[in-house]
């Protein structure tokens, strides 16, 4: 049971990294929280494997990794809208998301791409193994800090996970999730930097997700909004999901690896439950923002957590 499974990286993917809920109590040192971009998919992956919620997983973006098991066994699940193949016992199988699989030595996980979305997760029973910081296995790639010595997955490297014996296979069906076109927000700390008619336009007109999207932030285009007072504020702490508006008027949604301090006015904050929906929208996708009250945002947060707690009731036994 205490054995370690080793996986060789045959393809590293576009941006694959170890992530969990993120690094706490470090923002005052300039170290951002990092952590998974889509906490919902990450949690579901761990729930379906009967892991602790915060068990480290591999997050991949657009093009995923190809991994070969060189020793040990693995129960795994891939969450997201993802096209992948498994080679189990030399047999090629088309993979199903939200379904657990058991793999042995020489088996291969080939995560080809995300479909109509940006991020997916490879979770394994009992988690991946790497170095941690402040108790977290997240990776801040642009700062070279965190798991995997601060690096994204590298071609040809060997990664480790806890071995597990074959457990019952489960799957989850009919998860309604992808391609939201309404993103809910609450008022941001500097909404008063904008004219009422511009705030109106912010909510009434569609934005487009630009190609400029990554773990640091997502640039929104096709609905320029300019603050009327000043483009700069006294730099202050910033948080994931905050929408800041730089001088050119194209807003930036702050991602998990955002800088810890920023000097642009912030018009709205995306509610925690909708952040994951926004960052999954592919480049070119159009959407609108909708303002809700803080109380509604809090209710939504509690409701989603409750839904996750009860999700085990929806598991189907596969074999």
């Amino acid at each position: 049971m205490n054995n370690i499974t080793k996986l060789k990286v045959l393809r590293e993917g576009l941006m694959t990294s170890f992530q969990d809920f993120g690094i706490l109590s470090s923002q005052h040192l300039g170290i951002t929280t990092s952590g998974v971009m889509d906490d919902y998919l990450f949690k579901i992956g761990n729930i379906i494997l009967f892991n602790k919620l915060n068990t480290p997983s591999l997050e991949f973006a657009i093009i995923g990794p190809k991994l070969k098991i060189v020793s040990g066994n693995l129960n795994l699940v891939i969450t997201g809208n993802v096209s992948f193949n498994l080679i189990i016992n030399d047999k090629n199988i088309k993979g199903e998301c939200f379904r657990t699989y058991f793999l042995k030595k020489n088996d291969i996980i080939d995560i080809k791409s995300t479909i109509n979305s940006n991020y997916g997760y490879l979770c394994v029973k009992n988690g991946f193994l790497s170095n941690s910081i402040n108790g977290s296995y997240s990776t801040i790639i642009n700062a070279n800090i965190g798991a995997n010595k601060g690096k994204k997955l590298l071609f040809n490297q060997t990664i480790k996970a806890n071995s597990s014996i074959k457990s019952k296979s489960y799957k989850l069906e009919n998860l309604e999730y992808f391609n939201q076109n309404i993103i809910k927000v609450i008022k941001g700390p500097q909404m008063n930097y904008f004219k009422i008619k511009d705030i109106d336009k912010f909510f009434k007109k569609e934005f487009t997700i630009s190609k400029n999207l990554n773990r640091i932030g997502v640039r929104l285009i096709n609905n320029i909004i300019k603050p009327f007072t000043s483009y700069n504020i006294d730099s202050e702490g910033i948080i994931k999901g905050s929408v800041q508006v730089p001088g050119d008027g194209n807003p930036i949604v702050l991602g998990a690896d955002h800088p810890t301090i920023g000097g642009y006015p912030k018009i709205v904050t995306i509610i925690m439950d909708d952040f994951r929906k926004l960052i999954q929208l592919p480049a070119g996708k159009k959407f609108k923002f909708k303002e809700i009250s803080l109380e509604e945002a809090e209710e939504t947060y509690f409701k989603t957590n409750k839904h996750l707690k009860n999700i085990k009731d929806k598991f189907l036994v596969v074999d």
Binding site: H28, L29, I145, D234, E236, T260, Y301
Partner: protein, 217 residues
Amino acid sequence: MFSTYYQTSEQSYLLNYGNFINIETNKKVLSHFKFLQKKNYKFIKNIIPSFNKLIIQFDPYFKKETNKIINELKNNDHIVSFDNKIHKIEICYDDEYALDKNIIEKILNISFADFINLHLKTEFHVFMIGFMPGLPFLGVSNFKKNIPRLISPRLKIPSGSVGVVNNLTVIYPNECPGGWNIIGKIKKNLFINLNTFFSPGDKVIFKKISKKYFLKK
């Protein structure tokens, strides 16, 4: 000590201590920051001090407890004592490192040598660490005019570069993009093994060194 506070998300409060960048206001922010840090509440996930604001990130299931703490802070106007650590940092203002020397001369309408003298005269207060790991925001210098950010930010600022905007100075611990006017470079590594060299509330004095000495070190 804070005038208003505002919930910016399901899990964060922004406390506002004023709209000025000065040491007095910042010491209020840092006093509350240090107070909370010492208490080490499990449900507080992050505390981020800046010039005149404090962000408190909390577990939404502990909003009541967080509100209680904020009420407590409201009545707490105790300014903590700072260690008053004074760091002497060697800086080289050679043309090779002072990438924006000409801009500074033009904006302030003084020679770069005079600018250096002004910069060396300041005993800097560390307002906060942030933007990137280990980056200190220092102030306050007494330049006669405001120095704006670069119109188009540099894509790559060499690590150790010292930049100014208005009466503030930053030091970039690592290579990164940025819009501050670069006036020199230091050798000291400001971020090692997840530790920052400076802490908010510290003092910094720059000491000018020649390029020859800088390269030798």
